[in-house]
Amino acid sequence: MADRLTLEIATPIRLVVAEAADEIVIPGSQGYFGVLPGHAPFLTTLGVGEFMYRVGHDEHYLAVSGGFAEVRNDKVIVLADTAEHPEEIDRARAERARERAERRLSGRGDEEIDYARALAALARALTRIMTAGRSR
């Protein structure tokens, strides 16, 4: 059994990460789950959240949303709709998105709202803000 995981994170426009990792924490649609070497074959949909992978003592974070994760033979492949490193996140934009979503959800905003959409937008904005806070 290999003692390390091979990680690949791809989005529709590019390959974001291709690295060997010791531990991975993935925001699945049913909750976060951790992957260590020797994990059983696993296929899940992704939720919105913070993705973490650890190489030695270095922890790396990404804000991801939507897609899939596959674990198979110590190879972890993530197909995400979006995946951003902390330093790539436009914080001001995420803040604006959060305000907009909160305003909609509070019901004070304009006419009809798509509740689920606003909620998803809020989750994405909050994740981005949190992940952006990790950049040094």
């Binding site: 690949e8 791809a10 989005t11 529709p12 426009i13 590019r14 390959l15 699945g28 649609s29 049913q30 059983a40 074959p41 696993f42 296929l43 899940t44 949909t45 939507g66 897609g67 899939f68 596959e70 198979r72 492949i77 197909l79 709709d81």
Partner: protein, 294 residues
């Protein structure tokens, strides 16, 4: 017989045309490189996506769990055809080829039951004056082509398909074979053809699914279609630049040949003029001499 000045004017005119075609060629070459890089960058996602789809369908085959409306073959006559062209011309036969290919296919379909989605100004302008129904057009986005454009387009026709308004969706676009070769192709997008599900992996993997294969398939299939549309859009864009580069290269060469011919003409005309002037002077001098002798 053009005068020297006429020829000179034409040479200058062709030279300025050549400057423009050369500049367009360079611009197209630079944009082509970027477009090609984007196609390459998108490949890991698309490749893995098909593999996953193949795994999923084979792993869950036999059970009802692979049944999905986007996979369901239904015998219906209503066809939607998505035609992708460029917004701009000056790219050789790039637009004409794909429009012709699409027209063949449109003609094979029953006029009353075919609807069109036109992408790019050239396709819209062509079909606007013809008897088919254009359900939607997408124009003026090529310079900032993003995945969201593909998602928007794909979601549009998937919705119609799921609502039962159309029974088949096809895509006609220019495939990017190489810088010099673009080939118009037609692909069936919906229902998702079985072969597009990718090669069946040797020994289907026994996955743990979360939440379950059906839910994963529900998420996967629309993304698969969006990815395919995105690839087609990117290929068309790269193809457009490739075609324009080739066309402008040829135009620049033709301009050079024209200038060469005109230059020779100019030199000949100049020599003739000098010869004529010399003859006049010599003739005049002769006449004077004879007059003096008489």
């Amino acid at each position: 017989m053009p005068t020297l000045r006429d020829i000179q004017r034409r040479i200058r005119s062709v030279q300025s045309t050549q400057k423009i075609t050369r500049a367009m060629k360079l611009v197209a070459a630079a944009k082509l490189r970027r477009a090609q890089e984007r196609i390459l960058a998108a490949r890991p996602y698309a490749g893995k996506m098909s593999e996953l789809l193949g795994n999923l369908v084979s792993a869950a085959s036999g059970s009802d769990e692979t049944q999905h409306p986007l996979l369901e073959q239904r015998e219906g006559p209503r066809r939607q055809i998505v035609i992708i062209t460029a917004d701009k011309g000056l790219a050789g036969a790039f637009n004409a080829n794909v429009i012709r290919r699409a027209l063949e296919f449109v003609r094979q379909s029953n006029t009353a039951e075919v609807t069109l989605v036109v992408v790019g100004r050239k396709a819209r302008d062509f079909y606007r004056r013809r008897p088919w129904t254009i359900k939607r057009d997408m124009i003026g986005f090529w310079d900032r082509l993003a995945y969201t454009h593909a998602a928007e387009l794909a979601d549009y026709f998937m919705q119609q398909y799921l609502d039962g308004e159309v029974d088949e969706v096809h895509l006609v676009y220019n495939e990017f074979r190489s810088v010099a070769v673009q080939r118009p192709v037609r692909e069936q997008l919906l229902p998702i053809p079985r072969k597009a599900e990718g090669e069946v992996d040797t020994g289907a993997v026994d996955y743990l699914y979360e939440p379950n294969p059906k839910a994963i398939l529900d998420e996967l299939l629309p993304r698969h279609v969006r990815t395919q549309v995105f690839r087609a859009l990117m290929e068309s864009l790269a193809g457009e630049y490739g075609a324009r580069m080739t066309a402008m290269e040829a135009a620049t060469k033709n301009a050079k040949e024209m200038i060469d011919v005109l230059t020779i003409q100019y030199n000949k005309a100049r020599q003739e003029k000098i010869t004529k002037e010399l003859l006049d002077i010599v003739g005049g001098a002769e006449a004077l001499k004879q007059g003096a002798e008489a």
